[in-house]
């Protein structure tokens, strides 16, 4: 009887452990990469699967420097992302970048859009891979 109760406890707690996976992943693997930039206080993280897309909108203030960091779990493979300015012009494209973050200054306050796209890989078996994707934003006063 005691064993049954312990099994019930374990079954119930498994999803709770899974909930905090993105939070832990972001804290351990992503936030340190912001370096000297002060992190934004909004948690923008989701579990994505192949073929998924995500979009983030945020206002960036004039007179400040920013780092936008895209952080994804390896299981998702190469996640494509772009950053476009208020006019819709693509400023950064992960296809042309050799690092996982984008640093820039802002001369005029504006809304910037970040688009993420998880490649839709053909399935070789009966499994779909899920993984966390996080968009982190850090700022610092213009140096």
């Amino acid at each position: 009887m005691e064993r049954k109760a312990i099994i019930v406890l374990l079954i119930v707690m498994l999803p709770a452990f899974a909930f905090s996976q993105c939070r832990r992943f972001t804290k351990v693997s992503c936030i340190p990469a912001l370096g000297e930039y002060i992190p934004n206080e909004n948690f923008n993280s989701a579990v994505l699967i192949p073929g998924d897309q995500a979009e983030l909108m945020m206002t960036f203030y004039a007179g400040q420097d920013y780092r936008v960091l895209i952080c994804t779990e390896d299981i998702l493979g190469e996640v494509d992302y772009t950053l476009s300015d208020e006019s819709g012009k693509t400023i950064f494209d992960s296809k042309n970048m050799d690092r996982g973050f984008m640093d820039f200054s802002v001369a005029k306050t504006q809304q910037v859009k970040v688009n993420l796209s998880v490649p839709d890989r053909p399935s070789t078996n009966q499994l779909i891979h899920e993984g966390c994707a996080t968009v982190l934003i850090g700022y610092k006063e213009k140096g």
């Binding site: 899974a18 909004n42 979009e55 983030l56 945020m58 400040q64």
Partner: protein, 301 residues
């Protein structure tokens, strides 16, 4: 305790835990775990894939960005502007606790930016107590409080700790299907930043970087309204939305400014924008300031 009593206690504990976890986390299981799931559809695309919609986030600038500018433009520290710590016991509903947690968080950023150590401890304590009452104790752990106390003299480290703490709080709320509470905390923080900037403009005058930043809030406000709408499934954010929309109506009277032109310097450094910024007449600015103070006053009581 007898063996039978132990078993009964264990079952009661298991049942209580089932109920608690079920209540706090039942909405997001399929979204927020990170497991590998079986593909069962015949055409190669699972039902799970077919049902997926584009995930849209709205991120709001941190209050610390506003209060840092308040200090940069040479304003003097004014403790009387902040929400009084004694007010904390007046907040009894989840909504008032959440909004004022955001307000106290912005006040904590303000005291920290100005290196006011004693006040920073007081506001950290207020924020912690409201977080505890909202069931989000984990973000304000003893370790976090100790880190704050150790770094009181180091402004940059302190700001990092504060923003990381509120980031952790936001993560916890979102992962536990309490995004409406998260939206209220974020709204409180944004509103307090706008309020403090407004009071400074009243004291020191318009036509400076701070009044420009107030004008620029129209964009953050647009995202904040979208964020609150996205999480307003049960109508709990109707009142907040009404207040934000009343500010939006005033912002609509301002000139939106010119189009942007992004520049890339020879060294690869990217600068976004550069064209004329948005403008707001003094009369509209005054109206906005009065409305901001009125809404903020209603929340702090």
């Amino acid at each position: 305790m007898s063996y039978r009593m132990k078993n009964i206690s264990l079952w009661i504990f298991a049942a209580a835990l089932c109920l608690t976890l079920g209540l706090t986390s039942c909405g997001d299981v399929s979204k927020d775990d990170s497991l590998t799931k079986a593909n069962t559809a015949a055409d190669g695309q699972t039902e799970q894939q077919a049902d997926r919609v584009k995930k849209i986030f709205y991120s709001i600038p941190s209050p610390v960005e506003m209060v840092s500018l308040i200090q940069d433009v040479g304003s003097r520290y004014d403790y009387s502007l902040l929400n009084k710590v004694e007010n904390r016991t007046k907040y009894s509903s989840a909504k008032s606790k959440a909004v004022n947690l955001g307000i106290y968080g912005a006040d904590l950023s303000y005291t920290s930016v100005f290196n006011q150590n004693q006040e920073s401890i007081l506001y950290m304590s207020c924020a912690k107590q409201l977080a505890d009452e909202l069931g989000v104790s984990s973000a304000f752990s003893n370790e976090t409080i100790a880190r704050v106390e150790e770094n009181l003299e180091n402004r940059d480290s302190l700001l990092h700790i504060i923003t990381e703490t509120f980031y952790e709080l936001d993560a916890y709320l979102k992962e536990n299907d309490r995004s409406n509470i998260s939206a209220q905390v974020i709204t409180g923080g944004w509103l307090e930043g706008l309020y403090l900037a407004s009071k400074m403009v009243q004291m020191y005058g318009k036509g400076n970087e701070l009044s420009d930043r107030i004008v620029d809030q129209r964009l953050a406000l647009k995202d904040l309204i979208s964020l609150n709408k996205a999480y307003n499934k049960d109508g709990s954010l109707d009142d907040v939305l009404m207040d934000l929309e009343s500010l939006e109506a005033i912002y609509a009277e301002a000139d939106a400014g010119g189009s942007v032109e992004t520049q890339v310097a020879a060294d690869g450094k990217v600068t976004l924008g550069g064209s004329p910024a948005a403008k707001m007449s003094d009369a509209v600015m005054d109206k906005l300031i009065v409305k901001t103070i009125e809404i903020r006053q209603k929340y702090v009581m």
